[in-house]
């Protein structure tokens, strides 16, 4: 009976057109399962057994990536309910709390996920440093990682303004006033970021576009480079 169902599910032309190999029961089919799948093929087909040990990496990089993934999903859902307008944004926060089903959990997941990501990316960097994983031939990928950390901070900061409450407004006011202290370009740069002299509607829409469009695309691209280089640089750093 079970065999029969299995045959119907796995042995038809549709299934075989999607997954060209059979069930990954032996080494060759396992290789194919990874190699012929777009989402899995960033992995090598085979890895060192000791690279699998949790204590080698503590999973910190992967956790950071998962958090980014969760933030993308919850972020898209939040975009259905949020309008970046100074008269509407705060009301939308209240609606998420009191009117939208599971709206508060959605916002909480996005907020705590964001805080966690900042911490986890930093911890990931510490792990790579303390295991000397940045050394040749991984110098460039370490640099990409540092830029990713800066981008994470930028993402978190641009998102911080969006609830348009006192916490958001004054935190961002402090940070943009900091930009002003830059020599030569400080004033102009602050004007560019804020879209005026005061944090208002122009700042809100600029931060919003950066937060939901520009920075996520940039980070996605950098993550692709980061993962690609892990493969090209020979996987997890190992003692010689």
């Amino acid at each position: 009976m079970i065999e029969k169902v299995k045959n119907i599910v796995f042995q038809n032309r549709f299934w075989k057109s999607v997954f060209r190999h059979g069930m990954p029961v032996n080494a060759r089919l396992r290789s194919e399962a990874v190699m012929s799948n777009l989402f899995l093929h960033i992995h090598p087909v085979k890895i060192y057994k000791d690279s699998l040990l949790f204590r080698k990496t503590l999973g910190l990089g992967l956790i950071s990536f998962y958090l980014f993934f969760i933030l993308c999903i919850t972020g898209i859902l939040l975009m259905f309910y949020y309008i970046p307008h100074v008269q509407r944004a705060y009301q939308d926060m209240k609606d998420l709390e009191f009117a939208v089903s599971f709206g508060m959990i959605l916002r909480n997941m996005h907020r705590w996920g964001a805080h966690s990501m900042v911490a986890l990316v930093f911890l990931h960097m510490c792990r790579v440093f303390y295991t000397a994983g940045y050394r040749h031939p991984r110098e460039f990928n370490w640099g990409v990682g540092v830029i990713l950390f800066v981008c994470t901070l930028a993402l978190s900061l641009t998102g911080y303004l969006l609830p348009w409450d006192q916490l958001a407004f004054w935190a961002i006011t402090i940070v943009v006033n900091l930009i002003e202290t830059m020599p030569i370009i400080g004033d102009d740069l602050r004007y560019l970021v804020v879209g005026g002299t005061l944090v208002g509607q122009n700042a809100l829409i600029r931060f919003y576009v950066m937060h939901v469009m520009v920075l996520p695309l940039l980070v996605t691209m950098l993550i692709a480079v980061h993962f690609w280089r892990i493969r090209k640089d020979g996987g997890l750093a190992r003692p010689e």
Partner: protein, 180 residues
């Protein structure tokens, strides 16, 4: 000796290497001198672990979200300045530095130079000993310097978050702030 296709296939499965020879170049690959026995297949060994880790992350974030609500204060009002006004926690270390002297040094110079030094780290440390090992003894100096950086970075955030009150005055976490 001629080898049949079947034999070749079974040999391939035996040593589990699926690479083919494409070209000869000078230099070592990262895989030189490593035996196939040290390796295992990604499916299922790595993939199962990755999936399990995803479940853990989801459980943690969902759990946090059920029990703790994200903060939301009064609606933004440019005419009411909170005292003290604080940046997000990850910038409070910088805000603390800012309060020590000219804003340019704490706000722009220190973070910029910090990021540049971080990017340059692999070009400064050219040693090959201890790569991939936690806290290798040959790296004691590097580890101490980096730990100092981490402790100062986190320490400043803690001071900025928990020990700064009105007009950025110093208060212990248990100390009440003056009302007026």
């Amino acid at each position: 000796m001629p080898v049949s296709d079947e034999q070749r296939m079974s040999e391939q499965e035996k040593d589990l290497k699926s690479y083919g020879l494409m070209n000869l170049v000078e230099g070592e690959t990262p895989h030189v001198g490593k035996e196939p026995e040290e390796m295992t297949t990604t499916w299922p060994h790595l993939l199962v672990k990755e999936l399990n880790l995803f479940y853990l992350v989801m459980i943690f974030i969902m759990g946090m979200s059920v029990f703790f609500d994200a903060p939301l204060e009064e609606m933004a009002n440019p005419s009411v300045t909170p005292n003290p006004a604080k940046a997000p926690w990850y910038f409070l270390g910088l805000q603390e530095l800012l309060s020590w002297g000219p804003p340019f040094w704490g706000g722009i110079f220190v973070p910029t130079v910090g990021v540049i030094i971080l990017i340059l780290v692999p070009y400064i440390d050219r040693s090959r000993v201890g790569t991939g090992l936690w806290f290798h003894p040959s790296r004691r100096l590097y580890n101490i310097l980096f730990t100092v950086f981490v402790v100062v970075f986190i320490g400043l955030i803690i001071v900025g978050t928990f020990m700064r009150g009105p007009i950025w005055g110093f208060y212990w976490p248990w100390e009440p702030w003056p009302t007026h």
